[in-house]
Every structure is written in C-alpha cells, then in structure tokens.
C-alpha cells in the first residue's frame, strides 16, 4: 500500500505528484507509432491474462489467495514488485541526483534485513496458522477487536492509496507525454477493474511479475548505456570529481553511504546512522515488510511453507539490485544530462521550477524520464514508458486486491454475513473490486482538486505501521502478551506517532527533540518518529500484559513461538535450501555496504 511513496520512503521526499503538477512544463517525450504499439500491446496482454485467469478464480481461496498455489519465484517477484512503484523509482532517482548514493539506504538496510527476517523467522507463524491476512493473524492472537480496527484502517487507506496512485499516474503521463488526465484515469481504472475482478489475486500477482520484467527490460538499458558513455564506474567518478572541482556540480560525497553518517550536519539529508539503522532499518522497514498486508499477502499465496520462506529471500536479491536501475541513473544524470546547447543540465527543486514557469527548468524528480529520453530510441522509449505505466497499474491492482481481501474476509464475513456459501463471498469479492476501483477514481479526483491531501495520506500510513509491528512481534514471540496489552500498545503507539507528527507540523523546530539533534532535517523525522512509536507500542503492551490475564498456552498453538510445533519439511539439496540463500543474501548485503562505505 506504500507503493506511491512508501511511508519508509516518505521522510523528506517531496510529494511527487504535487511536484510534477507544479512544473507546468511541456511534455518531456514524444512517442512514435512504434512506442504507442508497445504500450497498446501491454494493455492487450493484461486484459488477456485477466480473461484467461477468470476460470481459475471460482472459489474464495482461489480468488482471494490465488489458491495458495504460487511458486517461490512467482511469490518472491510479486512480493518485491508490489513495492516497486513508478513514482518510487522516479522519486529515488531524483533523490540520488540530489543527495548521491545515500538514497540506496532505503533499498538495502531499509529493506533487506526485514525481508530476510520475514522469510526465516516470521513466515512460519503466518503460514502455519493459515491466516489469510495480517488482521486475520491479529484476530487469532488478540481477538476480533484489534483485528477489526486494523482491517478498517487498512481497507480505508488501501483504497485511498489506489486512488492516489491513479492520479499520480495520470499526472506523470500528462507531464512526460502530454496525455489528458481523464484519459489516463479512465483507461487505467478500466484495465485494473477488468483484470482484478476477473482473475482476483492471481491476476494481480501475474501482472506484478509482468511489471517486474517490464521494469527491468525497460529501465536496465539506461544505466548500461550511461556507464558505457562515462567509461564505467571509475570513469563516472572521475567526471563527477572534475565537475565538482570546476564548480559545475555542487560539492558533496555522492558515492559513499556511511562515511558522512557520523553526525546530522555531515550529510545533505540531515540524518544520523542511528536513525538509519534503528529507525529506518528496524522500526519503519520491519513494520512495512513484515506487517503490511499488501506485500505479506503475496507471500501467503505461496504453495508451501518452504516457498513462503524462500519468496522474501528471492525478493531480497532483486531488491538489492534495484539501485542499479534507480540510484545509478540518478547519479549518471549528474554528468551526462545536457541542455540543447551542449552545456551541463542542472536539475533543481520543485519550488525553483514552480517559481520560474516557462524557463525550461526540470526538477530532480524528472531525472529518470530525462535519462530515458536521452538513451532510449523509438520502441525502447515505449518500453520504458510501458514499464512506468505497468508500475502504476500494478500498484493500483495490488491495493485493490488487498482491499478486496481485507473487506471480504475481515469486515464483511465477521460482521455482516457470517455464514454464506463460498460462491457468495467470491461474488462479494468481485463486486468489492469494482467498488474499490470506483472509490479509487473518486479519491483520484479528490486528490486532483486538493494536492495537499497526499502529504496527509502518506503520513496516515506511517501512523499505523510501526505500532502494528510492535504488537505483531510481541504477539508472535511472547506468550504472555494479552488481548488488552495488544489493544493498548497499538493505540498508544499510534497516538505517539500522530502526536509527534502533529507537534513537528505545528512547530517545525520541535524536530530537534524528536530526532534528538538541532541539525536534523526532515528525513530524520519519520525515522525517529517510527522508533518512538514502536518503542511505545512494545512498552505499553508489556506493562499492560503483565497486569492482565494471559490466554492459556493451549489457545496459542499455531500463532506464538514456543506454543507452535513447526512442520518438518522434506530435506532438499543445499542449493534449494532457504537458509543457504539467506546466508548468500546476508554476505552480498554486507559486501555492498562495505564497498560503498
């Protein structure tokens, strides 16, 4: 659900659509007939997949959980693809142009440990208890109350986020290609409604895998051609150093990740390594990757416990590679982007672009489309644009399919129609899919008329995720945690997050207290706010649990560590073992961080 600008990415990242909306520039690219054909073929393909999969979405298990038949590869690619949104790609490419390789923290320490933890430690509990959702797990562990609260907030936010995504796509297509907003919204919503209503989660997952291939096929060429032009990584660094020496590029350490993290004032992001490691690397990242149903749903659809554990591990390898198509193009843009007269192009902040309409300026966020236009000829440009469209559409589809499952399983079934035939719930699911898309369209137009809402939508997500992490972790690994402890932990953690956000909103200087430094900048706020939120959630949960009556151990079987006999899996060769690949992922993770230290 954080596809647009995930909560764990949102810190300090400007509202992308507001940024694009403010540019007022003419379209960046002009498509040829071949490009249009490439885009049209993609739409034909997704509708074909939807119609084909309709015959495999007849039961509720098939429609909502893809029949729990996904292989580790499909679940893994879908898992990582659900988070690989187009605005995220463009936003972080822009951030890397502005801040350098620091932006890669959000892809490595901000994702990999959490993904591996989900696969190796948490997934057995999610999978063994056969829950269909994260609110479903809360129901098993803490009761209906906390489950319903989580389900309602998640359903509301998910469908809202789908609308925001829809608007974002329309806005970006308008700026990049000059397309009409209404045209983009109508075409994308019709396509998403068709293939999700027809094929359910399976269709959404298939399209996410398709999107994943398109993104790599469409975007990978940009860094490859950029590196060829600059003479490789060392050639790029030499040109960058020359630009900095001549004053053509602002001074800064663009190619190291940790050296400038010793103090808030030492890096342009205004963050500290404690915020990166504990705030981003734990509170935000673990909250998102292990409790956000949008991504967890993909893994729950796996065909076995081993596949469910392997899926996040497979995803982690590709996640580690994403900076190659996101961060690297942003960095290369520093030295290869040129104006029409051959001089070095300087991208600027959105406020500067907005203040100088008609001056031909481009914002940081436009670096990826600009790099595509520079390197991709007819056909290839269409492929790159198709990759962006696919990213937006699968983001919408992911949100809508998660909304459908949560509404039907965690709101409709327990509270409205408890005992109906299976076909009834499938029909409800199809109808809710259409309703979800209609609400999304309404949300898209709402955002269109009040772009500032987007900032609040993104903040809303961050309010719930970190406290939920505290509740789920304690529930999963501490038998003593009680129903009351979970409820009050979730509530107080959420209120802490909202309170800190409101405090900084009302008085920006309060950031010095939230992030414990007068030199902290906006990006540090989300990290420390999440850290305080999860700390409060865990602390309150522990205290309240110690003063209330725990559930008997027998009732906790299947949902709590120590009370759950884990199934013994068939032995497999070492190269198919999930622990082996986890170890490889850990080694690569540390190697990357050390190489770019």
């Amino acid at each position: 659900m954080f596809e647009l600008v995930p909560a764990y990415l949102a810190a300090g990242l400007p509202s992308m659509t507001a940024a694009f909306a403010g540019t007022g520039a003419s379209s960046l690219a002009h498509l040829s007939l071949l490009d249009l054909a490439v885009i049209a073929i993609y739409f034909v393909m997704v509708i074909w997949i939807g119609f084909y999969l309709k015959g495999q979405a007849n039961t509720s298990e098939e429609f909502f959980m893809a029949g729990r038949e996904m292989t580790a590869w499909i679940a893994g690619l879908s898992f990582v693809s659900a988070n690989l949104g187009s605005l995220e790609l463009m936003g972080w490419a822009g951030s890397s142009y502005q801040y350098g390789i620091l932006a890669a923290h959000w892809y490595w320490v901000g994702a990999i440990p959490a993904m591996l933890f989900l696969g190796m430690v948490m997934m057995p509990f999610y999978y063994v208890c056969k829950t269909h959702s994260v609110p479903g797990y809360l129901k098993l562990r803490y009761g209906q109350g906390s489950s319903t609260v989580a389900a309602v907030s998640f359903a509301f936010m998910t469908v809202l986020m789908s609308g925001v995504n829809m608007f974002a796509m329309a806005e970006v297509m308008k700026i990049v290609l000059g397309w009409n907003l209404n045209f983009s919204i109508i075409v994308s919503s019709l396509a998403v409604a068709a293939y999700v209503a027809l094929g359910g989660l399976r269709s959404a997952i298939f399209n996410e895998v398709l999107q994943f291939v398109l993104i790599w096929g469409g975007a990978l060429l940009v860094p490859i051609l950029g590196l060829i032009e600059t003479g490789g990584w060392s050639g790029f660094k030499a040109r960058l150093a020359q630009n900095i020496a001549t004053g053509a590029t602002p001074a800064g350490d663009y190619t190291h990740m940790w050296r400038s993290m010793g103090h808030f004032a030492d890096n342009p992001m205004g963050i500290h390594w404690t915020g990166i490691v504990f705030g981003l690397g734990f509170a935000i990242s673990f909250g998102y990757w292990t409790t956000d149903f949008l991504v967890v749903q993909r893994v729950l659809a796996a065909n076995s416990l081993r596949s469910a554990r392997l899926a996040p591990v497979i995803g982690s390898f590709f996640k580690m590679a994403v900076p190659f198509i996101v961060i690297l193009p942003g960095l290369l843009g520093l030295v290869v982007l040129q104006n029409a007269d051959g001089s070095l192009m300087h991208l600027v902040g959105e406020n500067v672009v907005a203040a100088h309409p008609g001056a031909g300026l481009h914002s940081y966020n436009e670096v990826l489309p600009l790099m595509m236009v520079r390197y991709l000829g007819p056909g290839l440009l269409g492929l790159g644009i198709t990759a962006l469209i696919a990213g937006f559409m699968s983001g919408m589809a992911g949100n809508v399919s998660a909304f459908t499952a949560i509404f039907t399983y965690d709101i409709y079934q327990p509270h409205i129609v408890k005992h109906a035939r299976d076909e009834h719930y499938v029909l409800v699911g199809r109808i809710v899919t259409i309703v979800g898309v209609v609400i999304s369209i309404g949300a898209a137009y709402l955002v269109m008329n009040a772009a500032g809402i987007m900032d609040y939508v993104q903040a809303l997500f961050s309010f719930f995720i970190s406290p939920l992490l505290g509740v789920v972790l304690l529930g999963m690994f501490w038998k003593r945690a009680t129903k009351q402890g979970g409820f009050w932990g979730l509530l107080m953690g959420t209120l802490t997050s909202i309170g800190l956000w409101a405090w900084v909103k009302a008085d920006p200087s309060a950031l010095r207290f939230v992030a414990i430094s007068p030199d902290a900048k906006d990006m540090a706020e989300n990290m420390y706010r999440a850290l305080w939120s999860v700390t409060t959630s865990v602390g309150v949960n522990v205290i309240v649990s110690l003063f209330t009556k725990p559930r008997p151990i027998a009732e906790l079987a299947g949902v709590v560590y120590g009370a759950t006999p884990l199934p013994t899996e068939e032995p497999v060769p070492w190269y198919k073992n999930e622990w082996f690949w986890t170890a490889i992922a850990v080694v690569i993770f540390f190697a990357l961080n050390i190489y770019f230290w």
């Binding site: 084909y52 029949g67 895998v209 060829i228 007819p378 492929l383």
Partner: protein, 68 residues
C-alpha cells in the same frame, strides 16, 4: 498450479518475443538508414535481439502443451 494452467512465464515469453521482434526490426531499419542517435550505441539492435532470444526461450520452455 492448475493442471491445465498456462504459466506466467509463457505470457512473459509472448510479450518479450513480440517486443524483441519489434525493437530489433526497428533497430535494423535504423542501421540500414543510418538514423540511429550516437548515444544509443545501437541498443535497439542488441537489446531487441536479447529480448527476442529470452522471449523465445520462455515461449518454448513454458508452452502450454509442455506445461500441462
């Protein structure tokens, strides 16, 4: 997976094959007319060919009759 199901890899094979053929075809046309931009490094040709080869591999490897 359903026993008669077409795997996602087949759909990916179809898409990559069609895209690869189109892009390679255009790249060859550009080569023959000498209109290719300098910074492209003839990418339409080799990237299109690569997509076509990968697409054909998936198309054949996961064709429905074999998958079922």
């Amino acid at each position: 997976m359903h026993s008669s199901a077409i795997p996602i890899w087949f759909f990916i094979g179809v898409l990559l094959t069609v895209y690869g053929a189109l892009i390679l075809g255009y790249g060859i046309y550009e080569l023959s007319t000498g209109t290719m931009a300098v910074q492209n490094f003839h990418a339409s040709v080799w990237w299109g060919a690569l997509m076509l080869l990968v697409g054909l591999f998936y198309l054949i490897r996961f064709r429905p009759s074999r998958a079922s």
